[in-house]
């Protein structure tokens, strides 16, 4: 089959690789219909993320058709059109059974690798370095899906591919931002990032009853989409004092809930010396959210700079009595509900698929996604 592979130094190339195979009883093989780029992939393209090997296949947000079923699979048959959660979780451990599948103990083929990175094993992910589980990505004709009864979901007939695709990752991530931030009716909610996840966090805030939703970004094109498709108010951070503007939006109190949904790496290094010594970057959006949030409010971190950041305003958290939480999406818990909302037209995501490419041109799609975020919200690849 053909697949978009990572090569050394962050270069990408479409290659012929062997088809995936069933490796466990609960696996299915999915023929990919759509697979999307994601901001979480961007650090991989710098060549600075350890653990990727030349030939690893990228991509984790996808849907497709089941073409092969393992002997332990009960809920899927060949021919089912399914959306697959981007993270891999077992559905059987203590965390999964309590609705925290992104904290799954058994989502990796080598939990010790993830332990070394994060302190504990966490759910796996397709198309990421080995520490994320060792699962090939979805920018390919076929993908192996472990624990398929837990992580793959039939798509209602009325929901099109370009809508259902985002139930794989962006929609559950956005939902988690609003739900995890405990948005309540009447709340003022601020979302940092007008990408796919940020827009869907804003939409989730509306659906949970927020009274005002404000999206902060530095790309006018994305902010326009947030106004047009989500009905949010927007702040262009390039020419505005964000904190002052948010106080104005919220009667001087500050937003009740702040959601950080800025994809990719964190902000700049604090100094040239930090850059050379490889010290952590500053999490600009998280800092801004902590300073802006009302006293006793809630900050939910969806990205946090992807890896390690420094200069976190811990004192502000204490003095303002904030609740700061973070998380990766719990798609195994949220995807059925999100697909229902998509079928009811409460959640529309087609506009997020701003550019379509055949798989052969996937490298070009990534270049567009990385270099022209103003116009490219997500590049979507079609292998078939």
């Amino acid at each position: 089959m053909r697949a978009l592979c990572w090569t050394t130094g962050g270069e990408l190339a479409v290659r012929q690789v062997p088809d995936p195979e069933l490796r466990n009883d609960h696996d299915v093989i999915v023929r990919v219909r759509r697979s999307a780029t994601c901001g979480a992939d961007l650090p991989l393209l710098t060549g600075q993320v350890p653990g990727l090997a030349a030939g690893d296949v990228l991509g984790h947000e996808f849907l497709g058709d089941v073409v092969e079923v393992g002997p332990g699979v009960r809920r899927h048959r060949i021919g089912d059109r399914v959306v697959v959660c981007a993270s891999v979780a077992c559905g059987a451990c203590w965390y999964c059974r309590r609705g925290l599948p992104s904290c799954c103990d058994n989502g990796s083929s080598d939990p010790t690798a993830s332990e070394a990175e994060w302190g504990h094993p966490v759910a796996g992910c397709f198309g990421q370095p080995r520490a994320a589980g060792g699962f090939a990505g979805s920018h390919a004709e076929y993908v192996r899906v472990p624990y398929a009864d837990v992580g793959a979901f039939p798509v209602p007939e009325s929901v099109g591919d370009d809508r259902a695709l985002f139930a794989s990752d962006a929609a559950p991530a956005g939902w988690l931002g609003a739900e995890g931030g405990e948005v309540r009716p009447g709340d003022v909610v601020a979302v940092w990032g007008a990408g796919a996840v940020g827009q869907l966090a804003a939409r989730a805030a509306w659906l949970l009853g927020a009274e005002r939703v404000v999206v902060v970004d530095r790309h006018p094109g994305r902010l326009l989409m947030a106004r047009q498709h989500v009905g949010a108010e927007t702040i262009d951070r390039r020419d505005t004092d964000v904190a002052a503007q948010l106080r104005e939006f919220s009667g001087g109190r500050g937003p009740d809930v702040c959601v950080e949904a800025v994809g990719g790496p964190a902000g700049e290094h604090r100094s040239l010396a930090d850059r050379f010594t490889g010290r952590a970057r500053v999490p600009e959006a998280v800092r801004e959210a902590v300073y802006a949030c009302r006293k006793g409010g809630s900050v939910f971190v969806l990205n946090g700079g992807a890896r390690h950041v420094d200069a976190f305003p811990a004192g502000t958290v204490v003095h303002k009595g904030l609740t700061v939480r973070g998380g990766r999406q719990h798609g195994q818990r949220h995807i059925p509900m999100l697909l229902d909302r998509m079928a009811r037209d409460e959640l529309r995501t087609e506009h997020l698929a701003s550019h379509h490419f055949p798989l052969e041109r996937a490298a070009e799609g990534y270049a567009l996604f990385r270099d022209r975020p103003e116009e490219c919200l997500r590049a979507v690849f079609t292998p078939q």
């Binding site: 130094g9 962050g10 490796r23 058994n106 989502g107 083929s109 070394a116 090939a136 490298a363």
Partner: protein
Amino acid sequence: MGQVGTVVAVAGALGVAAARAARTAVIRQRTRRARHPGGWQVVTVDRPPEQVLPTGAWPVPLRRLDGAVEVAVAPAPGGRGTELAARPRPHAAWPGLAAHLLGDDPGLLVRQALWQVKQLAETGEVLRVDRTPGERGPVAPTHSFPPRADGPPR
């Protein structure tokens, strides 16, 4: 002036290299400490003890280390299942391939075995990795994507 500049640049480069090396050493030390090589390694299995060690027998992943590790089992507090612990026996002779894989960190092998026991008890299988790029073999690219010259993307 040119020579002074060169000396300053070289000293700066050496300083940066030293800082990076020190940082790497600290991270490695932390990782080694985290693995706790000689002590008990513990995982909590979300199943009762009789399902973790049925009839008291060691499951396959631990059986491979038979004779080289001690194993202890206790109910986890709050109904969280079973705390399964293992640690290398002092001066144990590691069986088979394990002896070649150990290096200076027997704790890692013990820990991997414990996680496999846990996966087996909770999901009925040990999750296998997809085939690695090395197994797939090199194939000429058909379309490529050059890295950006001006640093990491934002």
